[in-house]
Symmetry: D2
Subunit: 276 residues, 4 copies
Amino acid sequence: MTAPATTQLLDLAAAGLRVLDLGRPLTVGMPQSPNHPAYWHAHPRRHGDLVRADGGSAANDMISMGTHVGTHVDALVHVSQDGLLYGGLDAGAALQGGRYVELGVQTVEPMVRRGVLLDVPGTLGVGRLEPGQEITVADLEATLERQGTTIGAGDVVLVRSGWGQHFDAGDRELFMGQSSGVPGVGEAGATWLAGRGVHAAGADTIAFERLAPGAGHGLLPAHRVLLVEHGIYIIETMDLEELAREEVHEFLFVLSPLPLVGATGSPARPLAVVGR
Amino acid sequence: MTAPATTQLLDLAAAGLRVLDLGRPLTVGMPQSPNHPAYWHAHPRRHGDLVRADGGSAANDMISMGTHVGTHVDALVHVSQDGLLYGGLDAGAALQGGRYVELGVQTVEPMVRRGVLLDVPGTLGVGRLEPGQEITVADLEATLERQGTTIGAGDVVLVRSGWGQHFDAGDRELFMGQSSGVPGVGEAGATWLAGRGVHAAGADTIAFERLAPGAGHGLLPAHRVLLVEHGIYIIETMDLEELAREEVHEFLFVLSPLPLVGATGSPARPLAVVGR
Amino acid sequence: MTAPATTQLLDLAAAGLRVLDLGRPLTVGMPQSPNHPAYWHAHPRRHGDLVRADGGSAANDMISMGTHVGTHVDALVHVSQDGLLYGGLDAGAALQGGRYVELGVQTVEPMVRRGVLLDVPGTLGVGRLEPGQEITVADLEATLERQGTTIGAGDVVLVRSGWGQHFDAGDRELFMGQSSGVPGVGEAGATWLAGRGVHAAGADTIAFERLAPGAGHGLLPAHRVLLVEHGIYIIETMDLEELAREEVHEFLFVLSPLPLVGATGSPARPLAVVGR
Amino acid sequence: MTAPATTQLLDLAAAGLRVLDLGRPLTVGMPQSPNHPAYWHAHPRRHGDLVRADGGSAANDMISMGTHVGTHVDALVHVSQDGLLYGGLDAGAALQGGRYVELGVQTVEPMVRRGVLLDVPGTLGVGRLEPGQEITVADLEATLERQGTTIGAGDVVLVRSGWGQHFDAGDRELFMGQSSGVPGVGEAGATWLAGRGVHAAGADTIAFERLAPGAGHGLLPAHRVLLVEHGIYIIETMDLEELAREEVHEFLFVLSPLPLVGATGSPARPLAVVGR
């Protein structure tokens, strides 16, 4: 009943796999885009509020949030251009009964695929990139070269800028970068990624792509290239620091979005799985 | 830089892994426990609401929900007994600044482990168990025997009752089973699972364990045994029908809970990964 | 500076006004329409969670809800007919940037007006009307006659059925009446109210108008007559028992909706103010 | 049946009362304290999403928010000092089953009382007070003197600083004043108000009282004096500009908080009612 490949997989697990956590903790007040509902959490019940006759008690939670907050994946329906979605679908017609039936996040298959880290600051010999710095195609190619990594069709490619250090440091305004700008790929880098046939592209920043200083979060050409023109998912606000520190440049990438029917994205906790 | 085990893992992925989705779609109105905040979703912005000068538009989401709704994992802090949590921790002291700092869901490591399905209806020769039917230790052992499956320490064990068919069928009241009761393991079955050293236990029902007809969701001895006495996570409202149909009895189990800091559980979309 | 009428008003207040509360308490689990987001409440902070150096502490709240839950007022934009709102406005065009700019609840002026109770059960000599019973025009006229009350243009008219007793009694399913039906005016009664030029019409039921047994909340002709055809606001889930018990048939009616910009309704706590 | 005072009240209404709106519109992104859940709104259903066979359609809303956002009233339970609430009640014991049963906002009676405006900038001959400026007892007394107004026991007193102009102007950061500070009464002014036996005190600022520049919203002595020591309600983020412009210094004040059972405050839309 158990396929040989399953046995191999379980043998690897038995030997000990290492799971690197690429998700950011969700806390009230964390940096997130003001375009999306703020993450809030409270306990309707805490222990002791209601104790049953047998001495048992349960605590629970109430959450309110957007789906593009914390570490998350963008469904293809998230962005439209000139009224059209990926594949030329009409953005209005994709909506039925108030839900995005077409290209909503419920259509994003869980990802269990080869993942690649492109550690750009490592290539450029800096701790992290400058605010508003565009990661160029030359940077991306130099990084592949330096790391000795290849990108295959269907891979998930994670582009590190080092900007995630501001999330770690609790530097909320700076991480968001509305006035400072944020480093990342621009239209050219997105086109280069699309040319490699990647399945999804991720970054350690709030909006994946380069944000020019003072420009806010409004103009997003890389989103158009990836989501609308090529059907490539985008993953944002990832923690890529450990991968870089440990020089883990390829791994099994796992991301299982919540199937929020009709939604445009989902919070997620992506993983990089490697052998020990 | 890439460990040999990583290469093996990626070779398996390249050869084609099969990913079975064990999560239920989240929709407004889906069956969930009335003890937890109802799942609601709306779009603050739809395409066309706000079109930028360049023709681009983004749609987004607003979510409100409990953490024990849809397919989800219970953190150890979810349940206390006589004021104490797992490990004898004081339930009051576990809370700091309004968050469960100890044993909250942010402490649940992502799971990438061997998973085992116990297809009890398959053993008993029925499509699904009866409302309120207790899955006995004999049932569990007979299922292991019939399937030729073993359980190892650290495994995640999923106990199928067939009751998830009511979720599929949209039979909300019946799935919830507040009046009818719901099949599942009782205290004895939970003790048996704990004796095998499992890491987590899951089911295709709303509360994991057997609910007696007419008893509601109040009395949960298996929760006490697993969460409080043994530190074993519980996963609820899973979709185990495909695993059973395809007789996939062991697999790589993947569950990556959202690190909702201070919370008692997390929605999740667990996966069963097998070779083709 | 103080107008004579203001002085008179303040003299009346000084002499002692009586304020009857027509709003229902909002509690988690209260009866509400399943078409609207459920009311949930939790405390992000309780006293003691975070005590300042000076010994002070603040507790606060987190609320999630629809606007048509609890006692509430319907804005005119709530209902459309054949794509049109009150005044022939196009329902699609009323929405700008994802908000109902036209006829949204922010356009509902606070009401400080003459209010009239029509105590129909008092007229019919019953404690409350039957499930699904239609309040006829004859019932309304007989009630005016019995009470010796008149209705003037601009008044707010509250039609009591006695059904609110089920809310008081915590009889959730019965108050909602999805299977049983709910008493109230039908299309004829709504037309009669509109003919009297009322400003708003209220009731002690979940949907203001008569709901036929087994018909759910889907077909609402009185809503069409009042909101769409005549621009008359509707107030639902009121507590009219005390007014009836004390035979207060006319009063100063006060309702101050929250100016939720772009929304279709607002929770409110209406008042009936009378002299002592 | 109708008391003579009721008839007088209705005669005044018939002659035409003027209702001044003291509430601020609630919009996504409005200035509010970051200590409280952000106000968010979306439409689960818009017109056209679901049209019934008869051509009717309903739009509705989903709201998530704190209770101390927008114009709102603080219940007495909102603040404790050294573990005690107003009247020496233990703050922990006030909570039952996760709700503030004692002194929660459900215990705040709707207010229909004499209201008084203290237009401090009018007295000081400025358009609005300076950031962080404390309104002194001398300022309050000079304002009473200048206006020829008296304060009686049980009145609601509204202290205008002019700071609400920043809300009007959409100057979010400045209105919040976390770095700049905000003008208002301090401990002395609060003690003076308490000495006059007022029922409630309101202001046009985010936290009612003076906030020192750079001090954030943490230290609130006037809250302690009013809520904890004297049982006087506080109303925040009011619009007092029209009252000042029109020199309306006394009025019938109406505030009907939502009876959110167990909560510490409620959004509200207070009114000032005067004769024409």
